[in-house]
């Protein structure tokens, strides 16, 4: 797998909720507007980011902040992805401080739960554009 690159329009979705993840991935693949890969845990996402290049990342962050390390690793060039690649996050809540913290990580979009699948599809399409 070393050296393989999926290119700029490939998106990685990191979402522990299998119903949301499988629905989004299924619809994206049906419509075929972007190549999407999925991870159900941060550990498996980390492995994918170490092995492949993605053009965008959508990651569901835990309320305790778990998942943020993925974005930090990406921004310091610790993955095979471009350090400036587009990132969107899914969060259960977002206060002012968290928004500032995410802004510092150059997060392009914050998707608040609960959300529509269509909202996440738009986010994926924007990152892939």
């Amino acid at each position: 797998m070393n050296g393989k690159t999926w290119g700029g329009s490939r998106i990685l979705l990191v979402e522990p909720d299998s119903l949301i993840r499988r629905t989004v991935v299924g619809v994206v693949r049906t419509l075929g507007f972007v190549d999407i890969r999925e991870a159900s845990t941060y550990e498996s996402a980390e492995k994918l980011l170490q092995a492949f290049s993605f053009g965008g990342l959508v990651v569901a962050l835990a309320n305790n902040g778990d998942g943020t390390a993925l974005i930090e690793s990406l921004r310091v060039g610790g993955t095979r992805c471009p350090a400036d690649c587009g990132v969107a996050v899914i969060v259960g809540s977002c206060d002012a401080q968290r928004a500032i913290d995410l802004q510092a990580l150059q997060v392009r979009r914050i998707v608040l739960k609960p959300f529509k699948v269509k909202t996440l599809l738009e986010t994926v399409a924007q990152l892939a554009a």
């Binding site: 299998s18 119903l19 499988r22 619809v27 049906t30 419509l31 159900s40 609960p114 269509k118």
Partner: protein
């Protein structure tokens, strides 16, 4: 009202349906979760996982409907099962198949219906995942893709291919 036609493979269909051993079983969270998700995603008051038995449609999972079954001859799902394709009725009052259907002129006053057929691996259609609204509406190709993906998740569960998470 035009009752749903019988599928040509009705005997095989009923046999396959019964082999699923799902009729008249208790509610299950794995199906309830998908149907509740569908109702929320589409903002519809009613969403159903419906299996079309010989003389009835029976709901394995349901949102917004108290009854657990209705007669097959007045069912919208029977039409989707007979065609084997997604059935979309934007306004039941304007559709001769359903305009004077008791489910349209009476409770629950169906106006909009979208049903994705549950086609089993042997090709027979066991039922549908369907959305119902009491107002006319349209859904676009992305909505259809979402509904069909949720239907596929149900099929995977029914046929033992669901994700082990």
């Amino acid at each position: 009202m035009i009752p749903a036609p019988m599928p040509a493979d009705e005997a095989d269909r009923l046999q396959s349906l019964r082999q699923l051993l799902i009729l008249d079983t208790p509610p299950e969270e794995r199906f309830d979760k998908i149907v509740e998700f569908a109702a929320a995603e589409f903002d519809v008051p009613i969403a159903l996982l419906s299996f079309v038995d010989e003389n009835r449609q029976w709901f394995k999972a349901r949102v917004g409907l108290e009854v657990c079954e209705t007669s097959r001859d007045i069912s919208f799902c029977g039409h989707a099962v007979a065609s084997g394709e997604l059935l979309m009725v934007e306004d039941a009052l304007l559709d001769e198949r359903f305009a004077d259907n008791p489910l349209v002129v009476g409770e629950p006053h169906v106006r909009f219906y979208a049903g994705a057929p549950l086609q089993l691996s042997d090709g027979t259609v066991a039922g549908t995942l369907c959305l119902i609204d009491t107002h006319p509406r349209r859904i676009d190709r992305i909505d259809v893709a979402i509904l069909e993906t949720l239907r596929d998740l149900i099929l995977a569960e029914i046929q033992g291919q669901g994700a082990a998470e």
